[in-house]
Amino acid sequence: MSEKIVTLSDATFDEHVKGSDVPVLVDFWAEWCGPCKMISPVLEEIAEEQAGKLQIGKLNIDDNLEVTRRFDVMSIPTLILFKNGEPEVRLIGAKPKGQLLQEIAAYL
């Protein structure tokens, strides 16, 4: 995994997401989800390209139910973009890179 991606957990979520100077795009994922695997390389690329402007975080829902429930995630992959700690955009389902970037562009 790219060094630019941060692994989030129930314990560290608030600290990372609320304490971030840049927007954080959180990927709610799990090992057993096929479409989650598909977008993983896309997120790696975005993390490299947008470094300094956008932080990508990954939250494994199997191990982190508290945060998963707090944001009512009911389908994965779900990507939520947080700005100043607040959820701004929610993207449900895997999407191509271009479309993904387009949907978050206004918040960067």
């Binding site: 096929g34 479409p35 695997k37 977008i39 009911m74 389908s75 994965i76 999407k95 191509p96």
Partner: protein
Amino acid sequence: MAERRKVIIVGSGPAGLTAAIYAARAQLEPLVIEGEPSSNSDQPGGQLMLTTEVENYPGFVDGVMGPELMGIMRNQAIRFGAELRTAKVSRLDLSSPSPFPLWIGDPNADEPTVEADALIIATGARSLMLGCPNEERLLGYGVSTCATCDGFFFREQHIAVAGGGDSALEEALFLTRFASKVTVVHRRSELRASKIMQERAFKNPKIEFLWDSVIVDVLGDTKVSGIKVQHTTSAETFELPVSGLFVAIGHEPNSGLLKGQLDLEENGYVRTIGRSSRTSVDGVFACGDVQDHIYRQAITSAGSGCMAAIDAEHWLEERGE
């Protein structure tokens, strides 16, 4: 100038990747336009990316996970020199004889992106939705087309599955791992599913059936709270409180790009000629679920992908290429 290839394969499920393995081994340097990430069956790897255990694919005595199987096929195609491009074809033109132009990205661009001497169509099929008023609005908020992706979120809850075929029962059985109860809503009084799946479903204490019933709406403000069901014979309607609805009512072929360009069956599937993968357009071959509404198995798809690669190879040889 558009890049010209001897063989281009559109789609990367078992049909497309098997065609790629055979075409690559025949040194035709195939290009596979594999699709883009999505949560539907149009993603690279196709419908098997949305399944868990595949128990009936020969060679895997203990079964294999769908995404793992597709990963293996992909690597096998790459090993023999197939090139895979993570992109979607936006337009293709079969009106003039080979080479056939294909567009990736802007479909109105003057120049096509690539040109194929022989073209193999392996675009597969996608899940049908119910089409009831609030289904799309609640997709991802309790309505799902992917039990393996979303079943986890319905622990100890009552959920419904729409459909009566193998995929519906597979989803229902998988969902019993999480849900307290799974109601299968089926519009007929008997199932289309295979006997072994029926037996398993009937034996499972968590699964119950609503026969002769159709779902006419999904209820809920911010997430699913129930479904509205209509009995097909009495026309009576009632509400069933469930927190999730999984839709598995069948498939339709991904043949939209081909409409008006080659012969399709009345139901939209690509018509192939005799016992071959040839289509009504010389040099265009079709394999997998886009041309098969009868068998629709990973193994029959793979088999037909092999046929398409061999047919394309012979066709190119006959042209002296």
